[in-house]
Symmetry: C2
Subunit: 241 residues, 2 copies
C-alpha cells in the first residue's frame, strides 16, 4: 500500500516547537503513515532525549530532520505550502477541511514538493507564516474544545493523506511546471517594491493590498514561466522610471 | 457540527493501559472530536497526575471515567463492540478499515450503545478480548512501521467518526431492537453448555466451534427477541434430557 514516491514529496514542517517530546511524537505519527521528511524551524530543544524517547523507533526521521532558521528556508523547493490551523482567520486564503484538501495535496505531490506547516503548541502559526502558504487546512473538531496536541494534528493529516492514496490511484502527472516557493516570493517582493515605488502602496498604511495580490496568484497556481514573465514586466516598469 | 446524541452513545474502552499519560492523552483526543464517555479496564495507575497533565483541559472526561474490572463489565449495555487492532489476526471476525467501519458504527450509534475497545500499549487486545467484540477495525498504516501510539489510535478513530457525521446525516433510527452484549454472551454460554452437554463439543478439544458460532450470529446482528427465542430453544432441549 506504500506509494513512496508521492509521500516522499510531502514534508512536515514544525515551526518553533517548544517541547521536544512533541517533535518525537510527531515523527512517530509520520512514520506510521509512511511519511519521512521532517523540517524543524528553530525548535526550542533539538536534538533532545525526550524527542528520541517519544519517537519510539522513528528516530531515523529525527536523525534526518532538516533544521531551518526560517519558514522561507523550510519551504525552499516547494510549490505548495499548506498551513494547518485550528483557528478561523480573517485572511485571504480559502480554508479547506483535511478531507477536502487531501486529494488536492496528493495531486500536487505527484511530481512537486509539498509542505504541511504546523505552528507552535501554544499559539499555532503566526499570520505572517500563514501568509506565506498557499492553502489553509483546518481539522474539523469540537467547537467547544479544539485543543489538538501537535503530534495528534500531524497524525490526522498524515492519516487522511494515506487514506486518500488508493482513491487518487496515482493521478496523472501534471504537465504544468509550477513555480517554486522562492520564485513566487521573489515575485511578491518585486511586486510590492514596485507598488511602493510608484506610490500605489503606502508602506505605513499597507492595508491588505499584498494579501489580496497573494490571494489572486494563489488561485492561479503560478507556473515557473509565468513568474518569469511577471517579473519581466515589473523590471520593465522600473527601467522606464 | 456537534451531534451529541450520536457521539454520546459511543464509549471509548481502554483495556489494561500501562501509562497513565496515555489515558490523559486519549481523553484529550476524544474531547477534541466531541466524545466524552471513557471506560477503563484495570488501568495500571489511575487516577494519576500524569493522566491529568496529558489531558490538557479534558480532565472532566477523567473525572467521569468508569473504571471496570473486566471487559464484560465495560461492555454492559452495548449492542456493538468494536475491537481496534493493528495486527492481522486469524480469527472469525470480518476486518474493516476505519473508513469502511465508520458509517456502520454511526448507524448503530443512533439509538444504541457502542464500544470502541483499545488494548494495551505493548500487545494490543488479547484474542479473548477480540472474541467478545462483534467487529474488528484496523487503522491502515505503514506496513514497515505500524507502531501507533494509543492516544494516536484513539485520535484517528474519533476523527474518522466525526468526519463521517455530516455524511450520514442522522440516518433514520432503526426500528430493530438489537440484543445487548450481556444477553448475547449469555446465549453463547448457554449454547456452548448445550453443545458440551450433548457431547457435540469436547471441552478438551474445542477447536473453533464457538468462534464459528459467534461469527454466524455476529453477521446476523441479533435482536433481543431473537436471543430470547434461541435461548428458549436451548432450554427446551435441556429439559428433554
Amino acid at each position: 500500500m506504500n506509494k513512496p514516491g508521492i509521500l516522499d514529496n510531502i514534508r512536515i514542517v514544525l515551526s518553533h516547537t517548544s517541547h521536544p517530546g512533541n517533535i518525537g511524537a510527531a515523527a512517530r505519527a509520520m512514520k506510521t503513515m509512511g511519511f519521512n521528511s521532517l523540517y524543524l524551524i528553530n525548535p526550542k530543544h533539538f536534538p533532545d532525549g525526550h524527542a528520541n524517547a517519544m519517537s519510539a523507533g522513528a528516530d531515523d526521521l529525527l536523525v534526518n530532520a532538516v533544521v531551518c532558521t526560517s519558514l522561507d528556508e523550510a519551504l525552499e523547493g516547494t510549490t505548495l505550502a499548506v498551513a494547518v490551523t485550528a483557528r478561523h482567520r480573517d485572511l485571504s486564503h480559502a480554508v479547506f477541511t483535511t478531507r477536502q484538501a487531501a486529494p488536492q495535496i496528493l495531486e500536487n505531490a505527484v511530481n512537486c514538493k509539498i509542505a504541511l506547516v504546523f505552528g507552535t503548541e501554544m499559539s499555532g502559526l503566526t499570520n505572517e507564516e500563514v501568509n506565506k502558504c498557499q492553502m489553509l487546512v483546518t481539522i474539523p473538531s469540537n467547537p467547544e474544545y479544539s485543543s489538538l496536541n501537535l503530534a495528534a494534528a500531524v497524525q490526522i493529516l498524515t492519516y487522511e493523506l494515506r487514506m486518500t492514496l488508493p482513491e487518487t490511484g496515482l493521478v496523472e502527472a501534471k504537465s504544468r511546471e509550477l513555480a517554486q516557493f522562492e520564485d513566487v516570493e521573489r515575485f511578491y517582493n518585486h511586486l510590492e517594491q514596485v507598488m511602493v515605488e510608484t506610490g500605489f502602496l503606502d508602506p505605513n498604511e499597507p492595508k491588505r493590498l499584498m494579501q489580496r495580490m497573494r490571494r489572486l496568484f494563489v488561485r492561479a497556481q503560478l507556473e515557473k514561466e509565468e513568474v518569469n514573465i511577471l517579473r519581466g514586466i515589473l523590471s520593465a516598469t522600473q527601467k522606464v522610471d
